[in-house]
Symmetry: C2
Subunit: 358 residues, 2 copies
């Protein structure tokens, strides 16, 4: 957290900016919703990858954090003594990852998920000899068709296997639902909970997630906690879904116009290596703030092509702020982000959990 | 270049592998073509970002390297004393970048490009006071519609401006052509060269590039050098264009199956943070070697979804090697790559120029 010496006019571009005032407002907004509905919040740090922003989320009322990979969790825990409760929402396999997981479990309250017996057996073989037992939740497929057991019956079977496995504690049920999946979550989880409780096993946690549907999370009251990620920054994908407005987008990419080769076209110094090629169903690669007429119709690694139906009306050297399609992947591309407070760069923060894919 | 202690069976996944034997063959193949046609080779390092592989290219006969950004050039020059001649194919703007450019010019023979007066004037204002003059090539648009002056006449005008600018030397003409653009390159460059020579200015270099059309580079004999990038590793995009076969793909992503939720679907631990979401016009996000029946139909950041028309026939814990759509962006996502020699991991190399976007 070095002191910034640059301004929006001088900082080297492309640069990723994060407005801390907007970030704080985004955190508070969902925490208030969750508080009203008696739902716990466990934010996914994949969006920011920053211990300092996790601390803001915890101060606002979050009960812990969610990480996707073991190395990501290690970077976050190393970066903040306030991160004491971590859920890794991933099937963890392999000797090296299990060693690191055991190391993490000695430092924080740790939970993971599993959707198959191979993963459960691997976790058990490691944690049977560890001083603390590992919480394992069953991942359930409520319609997103990624990981997860397909039925409540399969969830109950794995819950029993976890419950009987040396070194493990059954921690509950987890899902990453499809957008507008609250009804599916309620139905699947209610049935799974009933089946598991019927064999005498408690279901302490039912955790759901996803920013797009977070403001209707309470429509699945069976869930005890929610794991929003992108809500902390927001992005063009969420604006296009009507979840937020441009003023709620905390993360922007500052770029410089390097060429204006024709009257309706300009090239910026931000390409897929800063804006990413994630489309998330959209057309174009980001929104130029204040220029609704412009589309970013093509990215190469270091060039972004801006086209307008009318005159592009930009000159070489102009600086633009762009809301990317998908904020989470942008923070994975840069070693550091520039923190904005009251519209000015106040600090440069290294992205602690960037590139932590194992 | 630490000694590797892991194997393909034990290395933590996802892991990026680079087969050095295939890499060497790819380098030699294009160098041989260029040698036959009397064309110089200046490989673009954006694909590998590794000083050691640039050295392999130089040993094979390359006259220097191409970089896209100043920081990328700095990382490469810092990483190898053999890199003595660098072309940065980018419009460079701004005080901080110009300072770094001047630093680089004191270490190596340095050339950049410009397609507008603002960039030329900025370069001149910096280099007028430097001990060595900077080579500036004019970037020409031969149909890719990214950067570049639109006509040979505009190229000639900028050549004159560079030639007259304190601190600068006119270095020639540069283009990044569209695929199969050799005829357009020949036509544009021949006309531009004639116009520039007519006013008494020599055109020492005409440089073209792009892997997809590299084996027909000689169809634009006006060009004196060629800048292939992806050829060093190849990727699914190039296989799909018929440029190479799977056996020519030096870079693969090793992933582990973490879930097999249904008979025709499996999930691997490699998502957009290792395979990237670049499509390059393809459908799906990579090719699973040895499994032509499988499509990678969906990526999230840490999950890749594999689907088969028939039985997926994979089990949790299986390891797969995937040829990504676009090799260049994959090497930007990892801190280090695993070097394969004779099919085994022989070393782990840090990706020196990863994340160098300014």
């Amino acid at each position: 957290m070095t002191k910034a010496v640059s301004t929006l006019q001088t900082v080297n571009t492309p640069a990723v900016l994060v407005d801390l005032d907007i970030t704080r407002r985004n955190i508070d907004r969902f925490q208030a919703y969750a508080d009203v509905h008696g739902m716990k919040v466990r934010p996914h740090i994949k969006t920011h990858k920053l211990p300092a922003i996790a601390e803001m989320q915890l101060r606002a009322g979050a009960i812990g954090v969610t990480c996707q990979k073991v190395s990501e969790a290690e970077a976050m825990v190393a970066g903040s003594p306030q991160i004491r409760d971590v859920l890794i929402t991933y099937n963890i396999l392999g000797a090296e990852k299990l060693d690191h997981l055991a190391g993490l479990a000695r430092k924080v309250t740790l939970s993971v998920v599993a959707d198959n017996e191979t993963v459960i057996d691997g976790l058990s073989s490691k944690f049977a000899s560890q001083p603390t037992r590992l919480n394992v939740l069953v991942e359930c497929n409520t319609g997103a068709d990624r990981c997860g057991v397909p039925t409540p019956e399969a969830a109950a079977a794995l819950a029993q296997r976890i419950s009987a496995a040396p070194g493990l504690v059954f921690g509950g049920l987890m899902t990453y639902p499809p957008t507008d999946g609250a009804a599916a979550v309620e139905s699947f989880m209610t049935r799974a909970k009933t089946l598991i409780e019927a064999v005498g096993i408690a279901v302490p946690v039912i955790t759901s997630g996803g920013t797009p549907s977070m403001m209707s999370a309470a429509e699945a009251p069976v869930a005890t906690e929610y794991r929003p990620g992108t809500y902390v920054y927001n992005d063009r994908s969420l604006v296009s879904r009507g979840v937020c407005g441009w003023d709620d987008c905390a993360l922007t990419v500052l770029a410089t116009v390097v060429s204006v080769p024709s009257a309706n076209r300009a090239i910026i110094d931000a390409g897929s290596k800063s804006l990413t090629s994630d489309l998330l169903g959209l057309s174009g690669y980001g929104h130029v703030l204040g220029r609704d007429d412009i589309a970013i119709d093509q990215l190469s690694e270091e060039h972004g092509r801006l086209v307008s139906q009318g005159l592009i009306n930009l000159k070489v050297g102009d600086r633009l702020r762009i809301v990317p399609n998908h904020a989470c992947v942008v923070t994975n591309l840069v070693d550091a982000i520039n923190i904005l407070e009251k519209g000015e760069i106040s600090a440069v923060w290294p992205v602690a959990a960037r590139g932590k894919i194992v």
